[in-house]
Amino acid sequence: MSSMFGARVQRVEDDRLIRGHGAYLDDLGEDALVAAFVRSPHAHARILDIDVSGALDVPGLVAIYTYDDLPDKLAEPLPLLIPHPTLTHGRTPFPLARDEVNHVGEAIVMVVAADRYLAEDAADRIVVSYEPLPAVVGLDAARAADHLVHADVPGNLAARSTQERGDAAAAIASAPHVLELDLEIERSASTPLEGRGVLARWDDQAQRLRMWTSTQTSTGVRAAVAAKLDLALTDVDVITPDVGGGFGVKIVHPWPEEVLVPWAARLLQRPVKFTEDRREHFVASAHERAQLHHVTVGYDDDGRMVGLDVRFWHDNGAYVPYGLIVPIVTSTQLLGPYKPDAYRVEFDSLYTNTVLVTPYRGAGRPHGCFVMERTIDAIATALGLSRTVVRERNFIQPDEMPYDQGLIFQDGRPLIYDSGDYPALLAKLKDLVGWDDFAAFQENARQEGRTVGIGLACYVEGTGVGPYEGGHVIVETSGKVKVATGLTTQGQGHQTMLAQVVADELGVPFEDVEVVTGDTRRFGYAVGTFASRTAVMSGSAVALAARKARAKALRVAADALEASADDLEITNGIVQVKGDPDSGIGLGTVAVLSNPLRYAFDDAAKAATQFAGSSDDSKPPVAEDDEPGIEGRAYFSPVRSTFASGMHAAIVETDPETAEVTILRYCVVHDCGPLINPRIVEGQIHGGVAQGVGGALYERMAYDDSGQLANASFMDFLMPYVSEVPARIEIDHLETPSPLNPLGIKGAGEAGVIPGAAVLAAAIEDAEGIPVRSMPMSPSDLFELRRAYSQENS
């Protein structure tokens, strides 16, 4: 049997999905009542009064809830999920606003009715009176703090955090050259095609809650809902159905709707469902990316960074339920593959009256990569050196692995790179894009009146963060293998990829392995799907679980075959003496034998019953330290994250008149260790690159000064269509295994998106000969940039 690890297997998920038989959240619960919300039209206001009287005669209305209806823990603010010592002023929202709203879209009233049309009819007739307050929009306003988002948070400052390795100020002061740069990244958002959604059923006889939610963490939701509704964890099932994309936004939990819907279902004794619409997703979920950075770098004549100081300001929106993860990731992952002699970073995380900011694919890395790569390019420009040469001189070398960056990472553990070969990656990238031939291409283009440029950007990505994931593998008496892991799936092909791992470990056909994710009934301990962690964490966990099941199967089969377990192998689902196919028994039979029976439920089971005469009657049927069944349960908890890496290069053409940017080539080299399924990894890179391109050239959240999101629709928020994405994303892989997990793998989920803004900024700068310090770059932005630059230099 050939190895499944590394095979370009077609996905087992697809058949249901392409037939229209997927089961996404809104496809469930046709019998459920439906919730709709009255949301704030103001960015900042005091709530004076809520008058629901006009809604009461709407047909189909079942219930209206405001903050005053919320009992006990539901009346408290939602949890601050990731506390951090420097998060001195963490604020989270109430499930329904109490007396103040802090962003457009904040939920104030929940309406439950027979269907969504009627629920919205009722919501429309509810009159909320407000006293508008000054809105704080954008980092400048947040820093100026003329007005406060939260009256009890001075300076709008949620947190100020500093990390330093060496003495950066002294290093910069004594450096031969010093540069300062201001670098800015705008807001974007995950924007999955399916918004959020939740369905809850309360079983009053059993006093149990079953809920489905479009989440990246079913166990997280379960714990939060159980706590909020005062239920035992064992009385709450959370099932993640098919999820129409996540990209980070669905890791936040519990959303207000995720606690309100089950609460209402219990109160009303009826199933209740909420399906977020597109506008709600823009104004009531989460955004990411907005940061402003000031860089001071000291470097020598060779372009080596001797001291790097980064001061930045992070717009965390109205609340910080997910803590400081995004700016912490920026502050640490900014260093990428480089090793400045000294580094100091300080950030302020600031409140604004806008949608909250939580991780979106890349989670702080795209900004960090943009800052670092713009800095390196600026050094190269200042010294008149090649951009690749300056990078090579600053790279951490392969023989320096593991490399301790001397900082604390987002998991509270030391930032120690475990593996990687950055010079090899750069060599591959230069080959792939034809870096050395570009100058001639550019010159030819110039003679034709065309403006083209090339850029590159490098990144290192901490993947597979802890604390742990688990896996369970059981061999059924049919010989089929059922696998469960607790984290969830949003389209990454986990069922396929994890089945490949288990098929190899156990020695069974891939087709016989079925994987379930994100169902607390099947696996109750898990963290969630984020930070490119599934392959590393659950991949390792199911591999270890499969090894346990395999060892058990060999032990049981050894008894039956009167052989030593060491002499046995499992091939194609058959346990046999090595090299002797005639000796074998099927794993299903081994599963029967592993479970001593009193009752023969079918013919196969007879072999395991008490009169079958196959057991030693001097011993208990199940040994003291043994269990029935061929099963394995295992947890994988690495000491720290594993660090994937990659480099992108892009060639762009800019239109001299319209200032439109066209991507002519887009090349990716990538190191996520051994690839479980190259087809899936490439798909992840494709999607990431498209999001990177979107963030670099098209997407921004257009808030006006009053805090209205002016482009809260797909008509106005420019997500890339096929016409905006490079026709061909060229990919090459390097595979340096991680020493930190049994499969040697590193994560791949976010790889495509991280360098998007950085590489396209570099390419545009190269084409235009104008420093690019702010992204995204729309044609209008580039037009203005050209005008400002020509005025400055005229």
Binding site: G20, G22, D115, L118, E194, R278, G491, E682, S713
Partner: protein, 180 residues
Amino acid sequence: MTDATELHDATELHGATEVHDVRLTVNGAARTAAVPARRLLSDCIRHDLGLTGTHVGCEHGVCGACTILLDGVPVRSCLMLAVSADGQQITTVEGLADPDGTLSPVQQAFTECHGLQCGFCTPGFLTTITAGLRTTPDPDEAQAREIVGGNLCRCTGYQNIVASVLRAAEILNDRKAGRA
């Protein structure tokens, strides 16, 4: 299903709201729904007819996830009222495969080419491409991109969707020639 039962339920549900009988041929079968005049076709298909394969991604006709074939023409079902589809033929994603379960060429191509990830936008792509290949049975790459040019996908970066269009045309032509 019986009209009387549906009308009864619908009247309860919609209270005083007037409901209208809509008669459709959906994936070859005659279907009836009693709906208020404002019911979107997409909601009717999903919630009245129970065909949840058609997805709603934006409710304003931009993303294309809800695309169905109305008398063979791709239409955004979120931009149309159910009552205005009365008497017409609808094909949803559930109706693309042959009655014996054989995948349509476009469906087959999507599985072969990894043309989907989360699968939420996929039904709209499948219906759109099915119609596109009827008018452009032998697309080059530029035409393949044009066929899917109005649908949004957030997962795939479109690379494998374009590959799927080209592969679907091959399968279609092979099947026509009796080679598959």
